[in-house]
Every structure is written in C-alpha cells, then in structure tokens.
C-alpha cells in the first residue's frame, strides 16, 4: 500500500526543487516563457478571430440554416410534435424553440447601442420559431427540400432557408476554424519544442544530481518530476502572458474595429475570451509544457 504522507512530502520536494531549478537559470526561463508567449499570442489571435467570426455568424443567423416561423396561436403539442419529427431526421443536429421574448432579447442584443429603438414594442409582435441546426456539409438541395416539406405543416406560418451567401459565409467560417486548428497544432509543436530545448538544457546542467538521485533510489517520478513541473510552469506562464498581451491588444484595437466595421459589429458581438476560455488557454499552455518536458526528460531521466 502506498505511503501517502511520504508521497506528498516527496511531491513537495519535487515542486520546491522545480522552482529552485528555475531560479538557478532565470534568464533561460524568461526566454522560454517569452518565446512560448509569442507562439501562444499567434494562436490566441487566430482563436479570437474565429470566436468573433462565430459570434457574428450567430448574430446574423448564418449558423441557422432553417428557421421555421410559427403561427401565434399554434398549440404547444403540435409545435412539440413538429420539433420531434425534425429532430428524428439524421441530418438535423438540434432543434431550438425561440419564444417571442427570446427573439426580442436577441434583437435588442443585435442592435447593441441602438437597442433603445425597441422601447415600447411588445415582444408579441415577433413570431415564435424553431431553429433547425444541421450537420456540417449538409447540401443546400436537402435544406431547400426540408424547407418545402415543413411549410406544409399547419402550425407553420413561414420558413426561412439560408441562401447561397450564407453557404459562403459558413464555408469561410469553416476555413477560419480549420486555420485555428492548424495554428493550434503548429503552435503546440513550436511551444513543445521550446520547452523541450529548455528542459534539455536543465537536464544537462543537473546531470550529476540526476545520477546521484538515481543511485540513492530516487524513483523515476521523483527524478523526472522537477523537470515536468518546470515545463508545466513555463507553458502555463507563456500562455498567461500571451493572453494578457492579447487582451491589451484587443482592448486597444476593439474601438477601431467597431467603428470601421460598424455594420458587421453593430450586434456588439466583438468580445474577448470568457474566463473559462482563458482558463482553457492557460491549461493548454500547461499541457504543451508537460508534453515538451516529458519528452525532454523522459529519455534521459530514467532509472
């Protein structure tokens, strides 16, 4: 059975040794964090562009291929029946019911600073609807046929089917998404290489200590641990620095973008990452650091 108090104490040693190791070569650490931050900044910029492009697409309804407008007096059970039928179609990924109140809220959000124009207008003037989301790559022929079929239902007042321009917009979004994914992979590898080389330097500088630790019975985790912690800290700090710089840049550029592209961004969709997205970004940096340091220490720091 594992001796947990001793394991925790050994973990405490590993962490404190990692920080002492980093303090022994502060310039190397600084350089590694800065270089990682530059790479992460590139990735963050692409990801932010993608996030905002998605937001714009959502605000403009580009991401909803079929919108089914319902009669005001449509009974709930018939609406639910129609939604159920649509959800049963394999190409349909989800069906979302939008009430007049929801529609009004969205409209107000879409108008951004001009939302005061809606004062005095009752939500009831807007119809309730079903937004039908489809799988990526669903053909426009299928979408048109689906629209025609749905029109025949008694509860349906009108059907709006996304046109060819939304196809193009979707394709563009898709491309930006792929670019973000490609950038994430490239940057991930670049950051891993940076962390790898820094940790290799640390392994080389501390090779005597590694040899001694192995001789006195240090487990692989005990010997390798400080290097792994070092890599994680480098990656996480690099990502945090990149996000800080990105936020500063975003905050500076945002007013110019919103002024220059007022039509596009009237919806007020231009936004920075949410706190949970920021946390994911830092965790991604930590993961890249972990993989880089593991690769660097793994081969050389074995029993």
């Amino acid at each position: 059975m594992r001796d947990w108090p001793n394991t925790f104490r050994a973990a405490g040693y590993v962490i404190s040794r990692a920080f002492r190791g980093m303090a022994q070569a502060p310039m190397v650490q600084l350089l590694a964090v800065a270089t990682t931050a530059v790479c992460m900044l590139l990735l963050g910029t692409v990801m932010l562009a993608w996030t905002n492009a998605q937001g714009v697409a959502s605000a403009w309804g580009i991401d909803v291929p079929v919108t089914v407008y319902l009669h005001d007096d449509a009974p709930d059970n018939e609406i639910e029946e129609l939604a159920g039928l649509l959800e049963a179609i394999p190409e349909v990924t989800s069906v979302e019911q939008v009430s007049p109140q929801d529609a009004m809220t969205r409209l107000a959000e879409g108008l951004g600073g001009e939302a005061s124009m809606l004062e005095g207008i009752e939500p009831g003037v807007l119809p309730s609807s079903l937004e039908v989301h489809l799988q990526d790559g669903t053909s426009s022929t299928f979408i048109a046929a689906l629209g025609d079929k749905v029109t025949g239902f008694g509860v349906v007042e009108d059907v709006a089917v996304a046109g060819s321009w939304t196809d193009q917009a979707q394709a563009m979004l898709h491309t930006v998404g792929n670019m973000a994914l490609g950038a994430a992979s490239l940057v991930g590898f670049a950051c891993m290489a940076i962390v790898w080389s820094t940790i290799r330097l640390a392994v080389y500088a501390r090779r005597s200590e590694i040899q001694i630790l192995r001789l006195v019975g240090g487990s692989t985790q005990f010997v390798r641990g400080p290097f792994i912690v070092e890599g994680i800290v480098q990656g996480a700090l690099g990502a945090a620095l990149a996000l800080t710089l990105l936020y500063a840049g975003f905050d500076t550029v945002r007013p110019f973008l919103e002024d220059g592209l007022s039509l596009l961004f009237a919806a007020g969709t231009l936004r920075f990452f949410t706190p949970s997205e920021v946390a994911i970004g830092v965790a991604f940096g930590a993961l890249v650091g972990l993989l880089g340091s593991r690769a660097a220490a793994g081969r050389y720091v074995v029993t």
Partner: protein, 262 residues
C-alpha cells in the same frame, strides 16, 4: 584460512555472466561467476583493472542486468527486477564511489539529506538522520562549507554517510580509496571497518594494497578477466597489517580476530 561464516548470505551470485556490446564488439565482463557474501561480512573484491569488479557492483545496484545467472540481495531476486522496483532496491543498498558523486555546491548535510528526501521522510527526520550519519563518519553536521571546499577524505566520508543514512542492508564501495593518499585511505578504511562492526555488510572493490593489509577483511573474492579465481574468507594477519597511525587504531583492533569463525 577459514571455510566460511556461519550466517545467511546477504548477497548471492549464481552462474552470472555479463557482456557488453553485440556481435564483434561483444565483450565479456563477467563469466559464470558464483559466490555468496555472508551477512555482516567485510567482503573485498580484488583484481587488476578490467577484471570485472565495477561491473559486479553495478549488477548489485541493478545498473546493469546479467545475460545469464541469478543475483539475490537479501533474499530478493534482482536479476529480474522490474524497472519501477529498482529504486527500492537502491534504497536498501548503499553505494560509495571513487569520484564521490556528491553535489559540489551543497553542504555535507544537504548531500546526505538528498538520499533521505527520496524516501519522503519528514524534514525533521531527514535532518536528524542525516546529522546522525555524518556523526557516524566523524563529520560535523552543522558545517556550512560546501563539499567542494572539503578534502578528498572528508568528501568520501560524506559519500559514506549518505550511503549509510538509509540504513542499507549492504554497503558497496567501488575503489573508495582510489583518489586518496595513503593517510586518507586509512581514515576511510577505519570508517568502513567501524560501520561493519556495527553490523552493516560491506563489499568493497579495490586494488589498493592498503585495504588488503589493513586486517579488516573477512571475505575476499579474486577476479581476473571476468572470472572468479578465488573465494575465501581471508585470514586477518595482524603482523602483515599495515601500521596505521597507532597501535590502538580501531581498524587493526576492529578486524575479525584470527579464529573467530569456524
């Protein structure tokens, strides 16, 4: 000459063969080596350079694996030890080397403490045990000097203290006096003899004549060209023993007296 100690073996080699390299570059370091070291023995491996002494010690530390044969340390088969179990073996086998293998910028206490931190012991216990180990080799635990500023003899004492701190079943020493002058060599032997008298089995690889002459050896293994050429419990001859600093030197007085074993 003696036939053997009446105690259980702490280390046992059975038909161990060890080679380095492959094909034409294959070199046989040990060939069909079998012996056992009784618990509490002061065992010495003698032989010229390249005889296989260091290889043998590396096998005990699981730094190398034999191509044939079995090795047992304290009733544990180590020739088929899994990688993750090797550190646990090393915590039970203290090792001392010719080049000390110390952290030069750390103090004696820090160097010894390293072996105890590996065990995850509480800080207070690490300090207490490291201090005790240093006192055992007659070094001041509180010294702030880094080991790089110590003499060779002091550095080797620190290395011995580190090896002892984990209370190992057996202490291995590979040419521990190889880098030391005769006076310091005698000091180190004195320390090792005292450790042995306290019950720790010591196995020492050397070709330093001072060791053989010091009268502390209870078991001698002779290696030549990778083969075991002699295996005997050596006679401790006080007349042949090198005259250490004075007659009351514990190395001389601490050696196993003639006739003590059957």
């Amino acid at each position: 000459m003696f036939s053997g100690l009446a105690t259980m073996p702490i280390l046992e080699f059975s038909s161990v063969t060890m080679t380095y390299g492959r094909g034409r570059a294959k070199t046989e370091a040990l060939r069909d080596v079998s012996f056992s070291v009784p618990e509490g023995a002061f065992s010495v491996l003698v032989g010229p350079s390249g005889a296989g002494k260091s290889t043998l010690l590396k096998l005990v530390l699981a730094m190398e694996r034999p191509v044939e044969g079995t090795i047992q340390v304290a009733d544990r088969d180590i020739h088929r030890l899994r990688k993750h179990s090797i550190p646990y073996l090393r915590r039970n086998v203290g090792a001392v080397f010719q080049d000390f293998k110390l952290l030069p910028d750390a103090t004696a206490l820090e160097n010894v403490a390293l072996a105890l931190q590996v065990l995850g012991l509480p800080r207070r216990e690490v300090r207490a045990r490291a201090s005790k180990a240093l006192e055992q080799v007659e070094l001041e635990p509180g010294t702030k000097r880094s080991v790089s500023r110590m003499s060779g003899g002091e550095q080797q004492r620190v290395a011995i203290a580190r090896a002892l701190s984990g209370e190992p079943a057996i202490l291995l020493a590979d040419e521990p006096t190889g880098n030391l002058d005769p006076r310091l060599s005698r000091e180190i032997l004195e320390v090792l003899a005292r450790i042995n008298r306290n019950g720790t089995t010591v196995m020492l690889a050397t070709h330093d004549p001072i060791v053989r002459e010091a009268g502390v050896i209870t078991h001698e293994l002779g290696l030549e060209g990778g083969r075991l050429v002699s295996d005997s419990l050596a006679e401790v001859d006080a007349v042949q023993a090198v005259d250490l600093e004075e007659d009351t030197n514990p190395v001389l007085t601490g050696g196993l007296p003639v006739g003590a074993v059957a």
